[in-house]
Subunit: 192 residues, 2 copies
DNA sequence: CGTGGAGTTGAATACGATCAACACCGGTGG
DNA sequence: CCACCGGTGTTGATCGTATTCAACTCCACG
């Protein structure tokens, strides 16, 4: 059942299964650190599956401040799921935090999104969605109930690799606090 | 494509489609206000689809304080999606806020969860999941970036019906603030 | 009637945001 | 090679929002 993921990650070409299903609407792409892949308002926004590298998904508030919704290292998919499925405009920016190799699923699938999914593809899609729901569940609980320090502790445990790879201010943004606050939390932690 | 939802909501019996797929593992149940349907740690926890009434999903923190993860009025499904799919213990309490009529999907399906989903069932399942991801997306963004007052405003717009039906302290719990804070926010609002 | 939960109000407190100043690199161009 | 620069992170002072704790009112329900 995991094979779809593994194929997506390792095969030289786009998996046959995926090609059949999506036709011309899918391709492998190499992007560079800093490249902007999607902006809010895009109609029929694509989804991105990361083979190598690291993507980021975020919004800007009315003051222009960034709020990072999620990180996507290799093996993860990113994008505005709801917008993809229900023909809404996307609500997120997506950009690359490292040089990355990704699979892009682009426009054109929206007319028959659900019908276009083959039998074999379904379990993979479902698993991805459910995993994502799980991540979001924990994220909501954290944001509702835990202090900044506890959220940071949880982040360190859950994403130890990501901590090394992104600037600290982005961790802060993901946690919903300011860079200054995170800096002070870290200071507290080393002192004991 | 919506027909599955409508059937679930209105038909006297459990839809044939669902029975075939889940066999004995699904049933209609009437629950009373206050009934506890699920606790954290339950193995192979079920999911609940609400036909009438209102369910609630929440956690307790180490101080025993409730944090409401979601409300489920008629037409919504509730439960720990990740736990259902990946054979983890559930992390939530689920109880009834009103006398409710629900469809319960119970244990036994876990061994072949993905395989057990029939072709016709898939689009419905997928849509439900994607809709849920959309709700969670907005919830995360709200919790990260908006003040208590703005979160309350958004809640009023999004769930005007629910506001009438649950005690105020539960709204506060859902918003991630204390009942006192919500009380003061409301006072501010009427004064201008 | 009373009793307990829900909501309100106020005072004191705590946590994180904001603002400003500064140290510390890692380029880039002179 | 060095001077300069912008971005990142740190630190401190101050401010604001929400929490905590306590007292009180108001009902709904026994």
């Amino acid at each position: 059942m995991e094979s779809i993921f593994e194929t997506l990650l390792t095969s030289e070409e786009i998996p046959e299964e995926l090609k059949e299903r999506m036709g011309e609407h899918v391709r492998i792409q190499h992007v560079k650190k800093g490249d902007l892949l999607q902006s809010p308002g895009a109609l029929n926004p694509g989804g991105f599956f990361v083979r190598k590298g690291l993507l980021r998904c975020y919004v800007l508030d009315e003051k222009g401040k960034e709020h990072i919704y999620m990180f996507a290292p290799a093996g993860w998919a990113i994008g505005d799921v709801e917008a993809q499925a229900f023909e809404k405009p996307s609500s997120f920016y997506v950009d690359a935090l490292e040089d990355s190799e990704i699979i892009v699923a682009i426009e054109g699938m929206h007319n028959n999104y659900f019908e276009s999914l083959s039998n074999e593809a379904f379990p993979g899609e479902m698993m991805r969605l459910m995993r994502r729901v799980g991540v979001l569940q924990r994220r909501v609980i954290m944001l509702m109930s835990a202090t900044a320090k506890k959220r940071y502790d949880a982040f360190l445990k859950t994403y130890p690799d990501i901590v090394q790879r992104v600037p600290q201010k982005m961790i802060a943004s993901y946690l919903g606090i300011t860079p200054e606050a995170l800096s002070k939390i870290r200071k507290e932690m080393v002192s004991k």
